[in-house]
């Protein structure tokens, strides 16, 4: 993992290992790995980017329940998170509680918007996140969120102002 990689914490009952994350299709069509690849390729023309590509954080997946200090320290360094809303519907209570704990370590002490969390939700569920987050309901939306991730904070803020302007 290099300095130019944007670490992405992936939480989903369908992605319990690095191997499963590779095959994980958040909305059943495009794989997360494929979307990550396309985003990096799409932005390869940009000269100055805070990050070159996403790298799935390998230290924590759904199902892990034990935390030690190094893991907590690493989770705090994670830049972005992708949470499948299915996580909250899982009947594995311990795993769900651990996932929430990992998410709160990741978002801890982060200034507003500095740690980006995207809830992937294809079924219009009413899950409310306890940390600041946005919702993606399709592969296109996820692609756009990950794109913004690599472009950094200024890009995100300009995008927000433009969205307000375009919505007037």
């Amino acid at each position: 993992m290099t300095k130019r990689e944007c670490q992405l914490l992936v939480l989903s009952p369908q992605a319990r290992s690095e191997d499963q994350v590779q095959r994980f299709k958040p909305f059943g069509a495009r794989s997360l790995a494929g979307i990550i690849r396309d985003v990096a390729a799409g932005l390869s023309h940009r000269k100055s980017l805070p990050y070159e590509r996403h790298a799935v954080f390998p230290g924590f997946f759904f199902g892990v329940t034990a935390f030690d200090d190094p893991l907590i320290r690493d989770l705090r360094r994670v830049t972005s998170s992708l949470v499948d809303c299915g996580t909250y519907r899982s009947e594995e209570a311990d795993a769900v509680a651990a996932a929430q704990k990992a998410l709160s370590y990741s978002a801890e002490d982060a200034p507003d918007g500095a740690k980006w969390i995207v809830l992937t939700c294809g079924d219009g569920c009413g899950v409310e996140m306890t940390v600041p987050s946005e919702r993606a309901r399709s592969d296109e939306a996820l692609f756009a969120h990950l794109w913004i991730d690599l472009c950094g904070g200024a890009f995100r803020r300009i995008g927000q102002v433009m969205a307000r302007r375009w919505s007037d």
Partner: protein, 328 residues
């Protein structure tokens, strides 16, 4: 109220304007490029305030998101207009005019039409409605509102089509009959001709005609200008009108009516034939005989064929031919 979200706007327009997968990706790239333009124009993007970003957006003239999405659907607009044009039997000029008007409509009032699109149908269906209304408006603008006659209403859809084709779309009666025979093989020519006879005569409204369609009809002879400049045209008109009046005085009612319908009301022989209940061929023969006689009379007073052609409109405007007399 929730804060407007860039990604949600992107998804809303992608779905709303029915962009395909490739177009969606391009759409996002275009949005991103607009953000990058603003970013590049800011002295310090990382610490810029919302007001500074807003001012920079205005300064670099950020393109509206609707425009970015529409630009990707430009071809769709052309395709929908073309399909509607064929369906409505409109000509290419009408199609091009409608396409421009639709594009202007979509841009008008900061994309009001797109902003008001409630997604109760797909965008192409919504666009088709806009295109068809624009065709309708253009026809009303050019030809006035169209109403079928009571007779056509009574005779049914085929009679209404026949009437519309002849009096609105400019088909000759025989062309209209042929077109309808092709689309309704179960109907006989005799039935259509009978229908045609039952329809009342309608006057065509004055309409704008493209110059290229009539340039052959416009005299380019320099003699016309000379006649106008020297005032000779007025004198010639008077002489020609006197000849015409004398000839008309000598004619019977049928011949007078024929000339009146031909030159005063610009009716076609086929229409006059139905009005006078006279055989078309006989009317053509009679018209040629009357014109030959008129030409001979004009030549006798030294009005050449070329002068007479130039004078025709002028005479018609200035001179009482004597048709009124026949009505008294």
């Amino acid at each position: 109220m929730t804060e407007p979200n860039l990604v949600e706007l992107y998804v809303t327009f992608s779905e709303g304007l029915s962009l395909n997968e490739v177009q969606r990706e391009q759409f996002w790239r275009d949005i991103s490029a607009e953000i990058e333009r603003v970013e590049a124009a800011l002295p310090d993007p990382e610490s810029a305030t919302s007001e500074e970003i807003e001012a920079t957006c205005a300064r670099v003239r950020v393109r509206p998101i609707q425009e970015l999405a529409l630009a990707l659907q430009w071809q769709m607009i052309t395709d929908v207009v073309e399909r509607s044009r064929r369906k409505l039997g409109a000509d290419e000029e009408e199609g091009e005019t409608v396409e421009s008007k639709v594009k202007l409509k979509l841009y008008a009032n900061n994309f009001e039409i797109i902003r008001h699109f409630r997604r109760e149908s797909s965008f192409p269906v919504y666009l088709r409605t806009i295109v068809q209304r624009t065709f309708h408006d253009l026809r009303v603008e050019r030809f006035g509102k169209w109403h079928n006659s009571a007779a056509a209403e009574r005779l049914g859809p085929l009679a209404k089509d026949l009437e519309r084709m002849i009096y609105r779309e400019g088909y000759t009666p025989s062309e209209a009959v042929s077109v309808l025979l092709a689309s309704h093989p179960e109907i006989s020519r005799a039935t259509l001709e009978k229908m045609l006879e039952a329809l009342p005569i309608k006057q065509h409204r004055p309409s704008i005609v493209p110059m290229k369609d009539i340039e052959d009809l416009i005299s380019t002879d320099v003699d016309s200008d000379i006649l106008m400049i020297t005032g000779e045209r007025f004198r010639l008109s008077e002489r020609a009108a006197a000849v015409v009046r004398r000839l008309i005085d000598e004619l019977g009612d049928t011949d007078r009516n024929l000339l009146q319908f031909l030159f005063e009301r610009n009716l076609k022989i086929s229409t006059i034939s139905r009005m006078l209940m006279t055989d078309q061929k006989a009317l053509y023969r009679r018209r040629d005989e009357l014109l030959a006689r008129l030409r001979a009379e004009l030549e006798r007073v030294n009005i050449r064929r070329k002068d007479a052609a130039d004078l025709y409109d002028h005479i018609a405007k200035l001179t009482e031919f004597g048709f009124e007399k026949s009505r008294k």
